[in-house]
């Protein structure tokens, strides 16, 4: 049986919103991709483009071998359809006990999701998103509103995602999963910085910890907390 290779190719894509535009070119292969950029740089527009929810002004986006797409946006309220946490899990085709227990929300299964704190709501949404298998998974600011324990857990789960294309779009500066490719949006343009750890030297949005480690000649192998600690403790 032939195994199709998944990839997304952006060829001279240009998105326009009012007086602002975003240019993008490059190929997303299978693996975990991290895209960083400042607020207003076009990160969410890129998520919309890649998920087919926004049309580019020019250029093309070709998907090969991608049969299922899931996108999770920054604000979890917009994803909610169930009147209770239990209903919400069921609406995703997931077992409520498994999902809610994994994020310590089973005790609130009968609560309206909109009564949760923002962090709990984000936790619920991510658990539902990550509970499914998708060829292309786009996560727009998945870490915002999460507490550090949850950020660590989500990072761990994402690091384990080996199949398909995972695109994480974030301005997070502390906790990251282990990633395969690094991208950056700078001056209205998406730039591919490369694989790990080669890309780190060109990463303008690198957190202070990574910049300090590199300045000390201790380039981490990747960007997860474990990699940073390994680099810091390296003798």
């Amino acid at each position: 049986m032939e195994v199709l290779t998944m990839k997304i190719t952006m060829d001279s894509v240009r998105a326009i919103r009012g007086e602002w535009s975003l240019s993008a070119r490059g190929t997303f292969s299978e693996g975990v991709h991290l895209i960083s950029g400042n607020i207003g740089s076009g990160k969410s527009t890129l998520a919309l483009l890649l998920s087919g929810l926004f049309s580019s002004f020019s250029g093309s986006i070709d998907m090969e071998g991608v049969t299922s797409v899931m996108v999770s946006f920054q604000f979890p309220e917009s994803h909610i359809t169930g009147l209770t946490l239990e209903e919400e899990c069921t609406s995703w085709g997931l077992d409520p006990f498994t999902v809610l227990s994994s994020v310590k929300l089973y005790g609130k299964k009968e609560l309206n999701p909109l009564k949760l704190s923002r962090g709990e709501l984000k936790r619920l949404n991510l658990a539902c998103v990550l509970g499914g298998q998708y060829d292309l998974l786009i996560l727009d600011e998945p870490f915002s509103s999460l507490d550090v324990q949850e950020k660590e857990r989500v990072c761990h789960d994402l690091s384990l995602r080996k199949k398909g294309i995972t695109i994480i779009i974030t301005h997070e500066q502390t906790l990251f999963p282990r990633v395969d490719h690094l991208w950056e949006i700078q001056n209205c343009e998406l730039r591919y910085l490369g694989g790990m750890p080669e890309a780190l030297g060109a990463w303008r949005h690198a957190p202070g910890i990574i910049k300090n480690l590199m300045a000390a000649g201790r380039t981490p192998c990747n960007i997860s907390p474990e990699d940073l600690l390994e680099a810091a403790c390296r003798t």
Binding site: G37, N38, I39, G40, Q74, L116, S117, R118, G119, E120, K122, R123, E141, S144, S145, L146, D147, V148, Q149, E150, K151, E152, H171, Q173, T174, L175, H205, P207, G208, I209, L213, P225, L228, L229, A231, A232, C233
Partner: protein, 223 residues
């Protein structure tokens, strides 16, 4: 001094907590009661029982600046200068004095160029700076920030920190999930299940949190 005694509100219960002047970070898991405590300190909600006093007065009797996680959801007016002027207009201050204080505030924050702009056309970071200006223009005794750094990039968070540090607000209370930022404050409070588990200096509180994800990564890497 901010003093909390025998406080109860929903699942939040604090028997005793004292917070001195300076920057206090409140940290803890999602749903631990951080926002509830901030709302009580801001006088937005009243405790079911117990007392909260800020320099001897209840929160609703003092001037407070409040910035929530999504500042643009609290914005009332269309233009930047009208929004920043609003706390002073609500106090029936004289127009000339309002103009002068708004100009000075925008100058301090480096946002004079935005004064005539429509707020809906601003970037997320610019909206945070406008919200900060609106919170600071009336020189509050307490400035409360509810995870407004969660949606800021590093550059914008740095600008906001600079503005806050330069302000003359005696009490700054911020809730954050950024442990690096929390480690730079004067005081730290760790909440869990609606209760204060640890309170003190960042050094003492983080020492109690060693081995947990709350311990700052930069401290792990440098110690």
């Amino acid at each position: 001094m901010i003093t909390i005694a025998n406080l109860r509100f929903g699942a939040v219960g604090i028997s005793s907590l004292a917070i001195g002047p300076g920057t206090t970070s409140i940290i803890g898991p999602n749903g631990s009661g951080k926002t509830t405590i901030l709302k009580i300190l801001a006088g937005i909600v009243l405790p079911e029982s117990g007392s909260v006093l800020i320099d001897g007065a209840p929160p609703r009797e003092i001037d407070t600046g409040w910035i929530n996680e999504f500042p643009d959801r609290n914005i009332l007016f269309e233009t930047v200068e009208d929004e920043i002027a609003s706390p002073l207009r609500f106090r029936h201050m004289k127009c000339k004095e309002i103009d002068s204080q708004v100009s000075l505030c925008m100058e301090t924050l480096g946002i004079t160029h935005l004064s005539k702009r429509q707020i809906r056309g601003l970037s997320g970071g610019e909206k945070v700076l406008v919200a900060l200006a609106t919170a600071l223009v009336h020189h509050p005794l307490v400035l409360i920030l509810d995870e407004c750094d969660s949606h800021l990039d590093a550059d914008m968070a740095g600008s906001a920190d600079l503005v806050i540090r330069k302000s003359d607000v005696p009490y700054i209370i911020c809730c954050t999930q950024d442990m690096e930022r929390a480690s730079c404050g004067d005081h730290l409070v760790y909440l869990e299940n609606g209760s204060v588990c640890f309170a003190g200096t960042p050094e003492s509180v983080f020492a109690s949190l060693a081995g947990t994800p709350y311990y700052p990564l930069s401290w792990k890497c440098s110690r």
